[in-house]
């Protein structure tokens, strides 16, 4: 169609997807350029976080708290004295959801139904678990492991089929399914899964001997291991397998995907199922590792927390690990630090908001001066940059 050498014109549909993650498949750049690319990536990824911490520090000063003391307290309560273990357990479900989102985002598909998928899986674990306690524990875990993955996957099926067969916008369908899932989970908690022995609406509790065991010598449950393996598995999928390349082709150029003979419908459905399965697994790790039961109207909305970090990591499943770790420490240590220093706990939300704000600022300057790769893949960028102008249908002119 055109001649390709002209890069990113603002309104041009240029493939600006994150590069395929396997570096050795990428252009072998001369060292200086590689260093520059690395520098840009670092600026893009780390600077918003640092700026947010600095701006947050200023805010703390205004609130009359010594920011250094506050951040030191975050460190003490989030990492030191064994508190890293709680941070790790907090990070586990986040990591699994991040992986589930990264895989499908790579195909330029915006599956945002994570809350419904997570909650349904969580509720079914607590609903079904107490009925099958007679099973050997390993079988018990295996059954619930598969169940959560299956529930998460099934809950993506409607958006997946609609997307594959009717090209329905998945942002809308996954969000709708998510609302339905959240409500259904609530109904289940208050109805069939209600613990008959208590008065408040909550499910039965998984017996403590069937909760996931800890890694010897720590409080950390083995679910964290599952969560840490996931990004590596995703990385392998993306860089080494035909499936990963197909995802990349679909994300970068869907028309090329059909042209080169990729079964696009099947690929779309599979990527939804896999994404949903990872989200479902986060409930397995979280419920059997930490909570043991679910209350009605409980929704940790992990996915919302994870999304900024998924983009900060540029959809790279390994790069997302440090970001999630950072957040888990901040969140875990921050709660106590806030209590100790008399800062409202909402301050943590302010920090996350500040990170997002600075991401936006850097995105803006990055566009102006061509600073490395955008956080947003092109599909999403187009959604955001579409002008909102009233449209009048004009007269038609037939293509000659």
């Amino acid at each position: 169609m055109s001649d390709g050498v002209i890069p990113a014109h603002p309104t041009d549909v240029v493939e600006n997807v994150p590069p395929p993650v396997g570096d050795n498949r990428q252009e072998r750049l001369p060292r200086s350029r590689r260093a520059a690319a690395l520098r840009d990536t670092l600026i893009r990824s780390v600077v918003p976080v640092i700026l947010a911490l600095v701006a947050g520090g200023v805010l703390l000063l205004i609130l009359g708290t010594n920011p250094l003391k506050f951040y030191a307290s975050v460190w003490q309560n989030g990492v030191q004295n064994g508190s890293w273990q709680d941070s790790a357990m907090l990070a586990a479900p986040l990591l699994l959801i991040a992986v589930g989102l990264i895989l499908i985002f790579r195909a330029n598909i915006w599956q945002l139904g994570y809350d419904g998928q997570y909650l349904l899986a969580a509720v079914l674990v607590t609903g079904l678990g107490p009925h099958i306690t007679g099973l050997p524990s390993v079988v018990f875990w295996l059954v619930l492991f598969l169940l959560t993955a299956l529930v998460g996957a099934i809950w993506t099926l409607v958006p997946a089929l609609l997307k594959a067969y009717y090209e329905t916008n998945e942002i809308i369908t996954t969000l709708m399914m998510s609302f339905v899932g959240i409500d259904l989970a609530n109904i289940l908690v208050k109805g069939p899964f209600q613990d008959p022995t208590v008065n408040i609406p909550q499910t039965r509790t998984i017996p403590s001997n069937l909760m996931l065991p800890s890694i010897p010598g720590t409080r950390v449950d083995i679910g964290v291991i599952v969560a840490v393996i996931a990004p590596f598995l995703a990385y392998w999928l993306l860089t080494r397998t035909a499936f990963g390349l197909r995802l990349h082709v679909l994300g970068a150029n869907p028309r090329a995907a059909s042209h080169v003979g990729i079964n696009v419908k099947r690929l779309i459905i599979n990527s939804f199922l896999i994404s949903g399965a990872f989200v479902g697994l986060s409930a397995f790790v979280d419920i059997l590792g930490v909570w043991g039961y679910v209350r009605s109207n409980w929704n940790p909305a992990y996915g919302d927390t994870v999304i900024p970090f998924v983009f900060l990591a540029r959809l790279n499943p390994l790069a997302v690990i440090p970001f999630i770790a950072f957040f888990a420490i901040l969140s875990n240590g921050g709660d106590l630090a806030a209590a100790n220093t008399n800062v409202p706990t909402d301050f943590l939300l302010v920090l996350v908001a500040l990170i997002l704000l600075f991401m936006t600022v850097i995105e803006y300057f990055g566009r102006q001066r061509d600073l490395g790769q955008s956080y947003l893949p092109p599909g999403l960028k187009q959604v955001f940059s579409r002008p909102i102008i009233p449209r009048r249908r004009g007269t038609r002119e037939v293509n000659s």
Binding site: G4, I6, H259
Partner: protein, 545 residues
């Protein structure tokens, strides 16, 4: 006219509107521009010529603010300037029309134009409509301000693009290969528009691979080769030489020798060595003349997209050892035909047989495996994935299959080995096999596609506009490749370029509104016959309307 003529000669004698001075630009592995100096004058059309990858688009990209030069500088009206972005370029009065559309299809013409205004907060539609009609009058075109741009024909869209580039009062207009996708009629219209712009005193840069366009339009010609300006033909020379003289002067500059000496038939020999022409299998279907039928369409019907017709009951036979041409004005079902054969589109009726067996229900990959190949015309839109390396693009149609993938896992050695072979065999000019395919020049992207489709057990190849945007030499190479398929294979050549069909095809079918309206044996008088078939269609169309 008189006034304009004076303005023209006056402008030509003054300082150039834009001077590019000693511009150099390197990309990993290539020096795209090497100390290039070019001056653009008001009231002149300056033609940039050069083979694929010579650095034309790069040079203009630098002027348009898409890229920064490594060294050298730019003067606008004698003032040295630094152009950091397309927006600054516009601020300096430099507008660009890219080869692909930058219009938002869902918006009307006026809305698109307002969108181009730098800091429009409020929409002043009536003012914009007025301004549009001024521009239309100046260019001598008619544009409905309230038409959705996606409903406009390509040529009309391009006129909107030109107005958009001029919207903020640009005095310099860059057009990168504006004619390669236009119908002959639209090309003529564009030439009229450009002449008007010249009269209005603009400096126009015009990049093309078609010599006759360059000869017909330009006041000044610069030829690039391997990143350097190797020759400029200035105003006086252009005016004094006859079209033929000019053409041969350009060819001489571009290729050193005359084109005949420079032709490179080695490529097609190389293909044959790699896969010796397999004679048609013994048990194949034979047509009435006793020739083996490679591909047969029987009353094939396909849905079209949008206002474009699909196929409306097409029956064709392609025999082994022949090149069957498909002529017709663009947008008469060419793409539907190609995609129906390749498997990208399902038939709603009828049958396609390949080597005597029905294939209508087979997937793209299954047909590919049988040896049915498709070289798409939409090279960037669907042919390649720009962000992936050349090596991976060369196996894109075999993802997941041996020897490049085994048990779902990639075998990088096999992919790289294949890429190295093909890059050498098809003379793909790329810094390395790991270079992102999107950075190759147009001609080399086409060679990449040819390499991908012609290797392995290719038996029947569908070519869709295989030479648009290619330089003379590469065009020649590609046509030789197509003709080379006569040796035991078969080719379907869909083209809007009648000369190309007359040069390569044995028989030529004329496609009109999704129907084959006639098939002509190539030979003396074929051109007139085809012309008549195409005109017959137009009058039929009028009668129906």
């Amino acid at each position: 006219m008189n006034e304009a003529g004076q303005a023209r000669s006056a402008a030509a004698s003054t300082t150039p509107a834009v001077e590019l001075v000693s511009i150099s630009k390197a990309f990993p592995g290539v020096q795209a521009n090497d100390n290039v100096s070019v001056s653009l004058y008001s009231g002149e059309i300056h033609c940039l010529l050069g083979e694929n990858g010579a650095g034309k688009s790069t040079l203009m990209g630098i002027l348009a603010g898409m890229q920064q030069p490594d060294s050298g500088h730019i003067r606008v009206a004698g003032q040295e300037v630094v152009i950091t972005s397309p927006r600054t370029a516009l601020d300096y009065g430099i507008g660009t029309v890219y080869q692909h559309s930058t219009l938002v299809g869902a918006l009307t013409v006026v809305e698109n134009l307002i969108l181009g205004e730098s800091r429009a907060l409020r929409l002043n539609v009536s003012r914009a409509t007025e301004r549009l009609s001024e521009f239309s009058a100046m260019l001598g075109v008619e544009i409905d301000p309230n038409a959705l741009t996606s409903d406009l024909a390509l040529g009309r869209q391009q006129q909107v693009e030109i107005i958009k580039a001029l919207w903020r009062g640009s005095r310099v207009l860059i057009l990168d290969e504006p004619t390669s996708m236009l119908t002959p009629q639209a090309v003529t219209e564009l030439q009229v528009v450009l002449n008007r712009l010249r009269e209005a005193g603009l400096a126009v840069v015009f990049i093309t691979h078609k010599l006759h366009e360059a000869v017909a339009l330009s006041d000044r010609i610069s030829v690039l080769r391997q990143g350097r300006v190797i020759g400029t033909i200035d105003r006086e020379q252009v005016r004094e030489s006859s079209p033929d003289e000019l053409e041969s002067a350009i060819v001489h500059l571009m290729f050193g020798d005359t084109l005949e000496d420079a032709s490179a038939p080695e490529l097609h020999i190389a293909i044959e060595e790699r896969e010796p022409g397999s004679a048609a299998p013994a048990d194949t279907v034979v047509d009435s003349d006793g020739a083996a039928v490679a591909l047969e369409l029987n009353d094939a019907r396909v849905r079209g997209d949008g206002s474009q017709p699909g196929l409306d009951g097409v029956s064709l036979q392609l025999r082994f050892g022949e090149v069957l041409g498909i002529a017709g004005v663009d947008g008469n079902g060419q793409r539907a035909l190609a995609e129906a054969i390749s498997g990208q589109r399902r038939l709603t009726h009828g049958q396609i047989s390949f080597l005597g067996a029905p294939v209508a229900s087979l997937s793209v990959w299954q047909r590919e495996k049988l040896g049915l190949r498709y070289v798409t015309d939409d090279r960037l839109g669907e042919g390649i994935v720009r962000s992936l390396p050349v090596s991976v693009n060369l196996v894109l149609k075999r993802i997941g299959h041996a020897p490049y993938w085994r048990r779902g896992q990639v075998k990088r050695d096999a992919i790289d080995r294949n890429a190295r072979e093909l890059v050498e065999q098809f003379d793909i000019r790329t810094p390395s096999i790991d270079t992102r395919a999107g950075t190759l020049s147009g001609g080399n992207i086409q060679k990449l596609l040819l390499a991908r489709e012609l290797t392995g057990e290719a038996k029947v190849v569908v070519f869709h506009k295989p030479t648009y945007g290619l330089d003379l030499k590469t065009t020649r190479t590609v046509r030789n490749m197509i003709k080379g398929l006569r040796d035991g294979k078969a080719a379907l050549l869909i083209s809007t370029d009648l000369d190309e069909l007359l040069e390569c095809a044995d028989r030529i079918a004329v496609l009109s509104r999704g129907k084959v309206v006639g098939i002509v044996e190539n030979g003396p008088g074929a051109a007139e016959q085809i012309g008549r078939l195409m005109i017959g269609d137009v009058s039929l169309g009028l009668a129906a309307a």
